[in-house]
């Protein structure tokens, strides 16, 4: 999976993640891994919930399980945003 991520989606993903995790925005970079950011499985669920609300998407369990860093997360979100039926 390597979806080309729009700057807007990447920015919103990073902002949502930082807000959910109460992290300073500059800590959350596209290359940061969840491990580096101290994100455990429960945090992961909270982040997915926030992203589902932010982008009005449904993130399936299976694809979410494989994500390890911010860029992969943004790529996954972008894919779901692209698949959304146009409003």
């Amino acid at each position: 999976m390597s979806e080309s991520v729009s700057p807007d989606v990447l920015d919103r993903v990073m902002r949502t993640l930082a807000e959910t995790q109460k992290l300073p925005a500059d800590k959350v970079t596209p290359d940061a891994t969840f491990e580096q950011l101290g994100i455990d499985s429960l945090d992961g669920i909270n982040i997915l919930f926030a992203l589902e609300n932010e982008f009005n998407i449904n993130i399936p369990d299976e694809s979410a399980r494989l994500v390890r860093d911010v860029r992969q997360l943004a790529e996954g979100v972008q894919k779901l945003v692209n698949e959304k039926p146009a409003a």
Partner: protein, 404 residues
């Protein structure tokens, strides 16, 4: 002198039917009660399967008036208790009823009534809810209704510790009888978690399998919700023998503790500690245990940590024990799970056999335990039944084969 406590009656409501016999028969066959969830529009939910007690209709067991203050979870507790009491042939005098205890477990209480009542307020703008909403939703509704039906006036309460509720309840009832505060007890758990709100909440936690429950199997996808009730009649050995009751097994030990580790991630050390406490309470060595009824939820996390805990405690006799995981059969019935697993454990002790772990596909190197995969004779003196709840609350029971 310590009083010995025995089991003289079993009752079960589950996805496998409305009796302990139907339940045990499915356990022996490795038949899973998991199937498409009905009763809701499931189109907006990522998982579709559950172990609903589809054969259980409260109206078959209660008249309309009786049902007014009873949620589904309470009716299940009562019907399972009636079965257990019928098997035990227990008849108590008024005096004896003051020393008869009822300890039940439930994670949710009357969620079905709560969900229906509150959604009518929020969604349909109804101005009021049913006046029996509180009596129906209180987690102790099953225990209270049983006390009323039976006229038992001894200690009665309900334990709510998520997935460990029934084991905590059974353990406390056991200690109550062993320590002389009651002579008989009715104990177990019941749960009716199938409401739309509850299903959405489990979906959000991302631990539910998209297909079925495959404990300890490689490629397992998570837990599957179940519903039902399990009930046990406990009494002192002396009491049971004095009235010539048929003794099914002995309840020998109980251990509990908290992981103090993480709200949803289990800890192998915490699980192992609870198992060791239960063995110590039963004055039983690990080598005396021949069967473990695992918590075995089928989630990635539980099954790995539980395997580590089993390997730690039973390192010396892994070759001579079997692990069974019955949630593949009855689903994860939350506060009722430990009670259904106790029924399976006691029946296994009685018949000196182990049962298949349903839905198993491929061994997982991270779950390196001697999993039972078929119904086969298995002589064993004692068995352990594990429950490890979200929130890190562990409760482990030890049952022993009864020999007169």
């Amino acid at each position: 002198m310590t009083r010995r406590v025995v089991i003289t009656g079993l009752g079960a409501i589950s996805a496998l039917g409305n009796s302990a016999e139907a339940f045990w028969s499915a356990c022996q066959a490795g038949e899973s009660g998991i199937g498409q969830i009905t009763g809701f529009d499931m189109s907006g939910i990522r998982f579709q399967n559950g172990a609903q007690a589809k054969q259980f209709n409260p109206a078959d067991h209660f008249d309309d008036k009786q049902l007014i203050p009873l949620d589904r979870f309470a009716t299940m507790a009562i019907v399972a208790a009636r079965e257990a009491l019928a098997q035990s042939h227990l008849e108590l005098t008024l005096e004896e009823k003051t020393r008869a205890a009822i300890v039940t477990g439930s994670c949710y209480g009357g969620k079905t009534s709560e969900d229906a009542g509150f959604s009518s307020l929020y969604k349909d703008n109804q101005p009021r809810v049913h006046p029996m909403t509180i009596p129906r939703l209180m987690a102790n509704a099953g225990a209270s209704a049983l006390a009323l039906e039976l006229g038992w006036q001894g200690p009665a309460w309900t334990v709510s510790t998520a997935c460990s509720s029934a084991n905590h309840a059974i353990g406390q009832a056991f200690w109550l009888v062993r320590n002389g505060m009651a002579d008989v007890a009715l104990t177990g758990g019941s749960e009716a978690p199938f409401t739309y709100g509850s299903l959405k909440a489990w979906e959000a936690l991302r631990v539910v399998s998209p297909d079925t429950c495959r404990p300890f199997s490689k490629g397992r996808g998570g837990m599957v919700l179940g519903e039902g009730a399990g009930m046990l009649v406990l009494e002192t050995l002396e009491h049971a023998q004095a009235r010539g009751a048929q003794i099914l097994a002995e309840i020998a030990g109980f251990g509990m503790g908290a992981d103090a580790h993480h709200i949803t991630q289990p800890s192998a050390a915490g699980a192992a500690r609870a198992i060791r406490l239960a063995l110590a309470d039963a004055q039983c060595s690990p080598e005396q245990i021949g069967v473990i009824n695992a918590h075995g939820t089928g989630t990635a996390a539980n099954d790995v940590t539980e395997s580590a805990a089993i390997r730690d405690v039973f390192a010396a006799n892994l070759g001579s024990l079997k692990v069974v995981a019955t949630k593949a059969i009855h689903g994860h019935a939350l506060g009722a799970s430990g009670a259904l697993e106790a029924v399976a454990t006691i029946c296994g002790l009685q018949q000196q056999c182990v049962i298949p772990t349903a839905n198993f596909q491929t061994p997982d190197p991270d779950c390196d335990i001697p999993l039972s995969l078929q119904h086969t004779p298995w002589p064993h003196e004692a068995a352990v039944s594990n429950s490890f709840a979200f929130g890190g609350l562990n409760a482990v029971l030890v049952f022993r084969r009864f020999e007169a």
